[in-house]
């Protein structure tokens, strides 16, 4: 025959063969596709909410040049301040302690240390 066949021609031949499937096969394929679509995994309500929430939150961050870095720095500062505040005794705490010592009303566990 002496026919030359390159890569593009070969793939075109295969494409052509896929497009010229018998109609019965094409119909069965579309039935199979519909059957598969009926069993498609649906995302849970939580996934949908999260999917909607993340872009809503991240859009303003991405518009800002520093974006997430600034947000993370702010969060870190906020947590550090909260931690420091939590562990610092207030004057009110000192007054209550003094009062308890003076009235011998101190709980036993205070002497343990």
């Amino acid at each position: 025959m002496g026919i030359k066949l390159n890569r593009e021609e070969l793939t075109a031949l295969l494409d052509d063969s896929a497009h010229r499937l018998p109609s019965a096969v094409a119909v069965r394929l579309s039935v199979a596709r519909r059957a598969a679509l009926q069993q498609q995994a649906q995302p849970s309500r939580f996934q949908v909410r999260l999917h909607q929430l993340v872009p809503a939150l991240s859009a303003p961050m991405q518009r800002h040049p520093l974006g997430w870095n600034v947000a993370l720095l702010c969060l870190f500062i906020l947590l550090a301040v909260a931690f420091f505040q939590w562990n610092t005794p207030t004057p009110h705490d000192h007054t209550e302690l003094d009062l308890a010592i003076l009235t011998d009303d101190l709980p036993v566990h205070m002497y343990v240390d």
Binding site: L5, L14, V25, L29, S30, A35
Partner: protein, 193 residues
């Protein structure tokens, strides 16, 4: 996250080629149809909520695994059949002959006609017959890499092997195809990339 429409569009775009992939591998239209349906259902059930961009690779992987599962099941069936074959009548010989005839019909060595469309069909029949002669892994790599257009890494992922193996399979498949087609008078010119 993908919608039902995206999944439907994707399946519609790949179902025919998936069927051909399966048909080349198993050489049985009914089995090929079952394989494609099973692969589509698996994709929809397990990965239907994944982004649509992930569908092509996932589907190819599922399809290839489903084809391999088919061969495993067939092997078990054949082993069972051979266990009981000594109790059967000589009719089983006839069944083998019938399958051989069916397979020859699939090869479609049709008489040449002067029309271009018929010549094209004949050329396609020769190419498909050559593809069927390839070892399964070589054919799988060749079709995924050159027909589906996956790159080496994607083909390796779909086949569950290394990129080096993909390159070897593709190279051998191309050489074998060229040799088979050469015998039929077709000169396969292949520029690898």
């Amino acid at each position: 996250m993908s919608t039902s429409v995206q999944l439907s569009d994707f399946l519609a775009s790949v179902e025919r080629r998936a069927y051909k992939h399966a048909a080349y591998a198993v050489r049985d239209e009914q089995a090929a149809m079952d394989i494609v349906q099973e692969a589509m259902i698996k994709l929809a059930q397990r990965y239907g909520d994944k982004p649509a961009a992930e569908f092509p690779l996932l589907f190819q992987r599922i399809l290839q695994n489903t084809i391999r599962d088919h061969f495993r099941r067939q092997k078990v069936r054949n082993a069972r059949f051979s266990l009981f074959s000594s109790f059967t009548s000589p009719q089983s010989e006839d069944e083998v002959d019938a399958l051989d005839i069916l397979q020859d019909e699939d090869n479609a060595s049709q008489p040449a006609t002067p029309h271009a469309a018929a010549a094209n069909r004949q050329l396609l029949a020769l190419v498909e017959a050559a593809l069927r002669q390839l070892p399964p892994r070589q054919r799988e790599a060749f079709l995924l890499r050159y027909w589906e257009g996956l790159d080496t890494a994607e083909t390796a992922t779909a086949m569950g092997c290394t990129g080096g193996s993909v390159k070897t399979h593709c190279s051998r498949a191309t050489a074998t195809l060229a040799r088979i087609l050469k015998q039929k008078g077709i000169d396969l010119t292949w520029a690898s990339n």
